[in-house]
């Protein structure tokens, strides 16, 4: 078994740094210097942040101007760019995760024999883990957390794939059975995402309730997912049905002379 002291020490770092910084706070000179330094850093960060915001707002406004003259086509190309960026980002994350999972699953990140002092005595509260959970158990839960996140990642990837195909079809003649089918697939994928979220919430809640004890507090689980997911899934399914109707109307219209 390999032990990674770096990881272990990392968890303890907040406690020790807190102790060290205590005497410093009584020295006004040090305090002022650090305040000035921090304010400088914050100002620089804000300037940088503003610059990014300013340029992105300018970019969007320029695209909007183009959209005014170019109409729906310009909007479509804009959305296409966004979806493509999302697609490639998710693809990279998915590939890295899938390659990384076996690596993580078959490796010991935390030594089993050491206790976990970092959680036990923080100022103001006490958290205790039940005896059943060891450092190794926690590490393995973290590993499973990665696996738990995988369904959502893959679902998102499939959604983006279908969205790309949908946008590639163009808007000259959107009412095709193919488009309606893709929308329905996206709707069901969103539903699957909601189901996966409930599952992940249940597993996580079970782990927390069984293993974490906070004196004087009762932990209750709420496995309900984010409501917006369910809403958008149902909306997508409804829109796909409306699209099917649109296909019929389009056919009727095309064959009317």
């Amino acid at each position: 078994m390999r032990s990674f002291d770096g990881v272990y020490e990392g968890f303890r770092a907040p406690v020790s740094s807190q102790k060290r910084s205590l005497p410093d706070s009584h020295n006004p000179a040090v305090n002022m210097a650090s305040v000035r330094y921090i304010s400088k850093v914050v100002k620089a960060l804000l300037t940088f942040d503003n610059l990014i915001w300013y340029s992105s707002v300018k970019y969007v406004l320029r695209r909007c101007e183009e959209m005014k003259s170019g109409g729906a086509k310009a909007l479509l190309s804009f959305v296409r760019v966004l979806v493509n960026i999302g697609w490639y980002a998710y693809l990279i994350v998915a590939v890295v995760t899938i390659i990384g999972i076996p690596h993580l699953l078959f490796r010991d990140y935390l030594p089993a024999d050491k206790p976990m002092p970092w959680m036990e005595h923080q100022p103001g509260y006490t958290i205790t883990f039940s005896d059943a959970v060891s450092a190794e158990g926690l590490a393995s839960f973290a590993r499973y957390g990665l696996v738990l996140g995988l369904p959502n990642l893959l679902i998102m990837l499939f959604i983006l794939h279908n969205l790309r195909r949908l946008l590639a079809a163009g808007i000259e003649n959107p009412f095709t059975l193919e488009n309606a089918r893709r929308m329905r697939i996206i709707g069901f994928l969103l539903l699957a995402g909601v189901a996966a979220e409930i599952g992940v919430n249940l597993i996580t809640a079970r782990f927390v309730i069984n293993n974490v004890h906070i004196p004087g507090a009762t932990i209750r689980a709420n496995p309900l997912p984010y409501r917006g997911g369910l809403f958008s899934a149902l909306l997508m399914l409804i829109v796909s049905e409306v699209f099917k109707l649109g296909v019929l109307l389009q056919e009727e219209h095309d064959l009317t002379v």
């Binding site: 009727e252 064959l255 009317t256 002379v257």
Partner: protein, 73 residues
């Protein structure tokens, strides 16, 4: 098909081409072909009016109801 379209017969009688008719009534050749081959699912009154005006005929000359299994006249 229970409604027969006699557009081709009328065109031959009037010695008019499909292209000429399409220019006169302002309907694309593609749409007139749909009508001529009997693929059309509906016909607008405006289209019917324009065709009858240009071919100098009645709607009954253009369209005929045919019982299933019978041959159109």
């Amino acid at each position: 098909m229970t409604i027969a379209v006699h557009l081709d017969r009328l065109l031959v009688e009037r010695k008019m081409s499909l292209t000429e008719l399409s220019e006169r009534v302002g309907i694309t050749i593609a749409n007139l072909s749909i009508l001529k081959t009997g693929k059309a699912r509906a016909i607008r009154f405006s289209t019917l009016e324009a065709i009858c005006r240009e071919l100098d005929c009645q709607p009954g000359d253009l369209l005929e109801y045919v019982e299933d299994g019978e041959q159109p006249s």
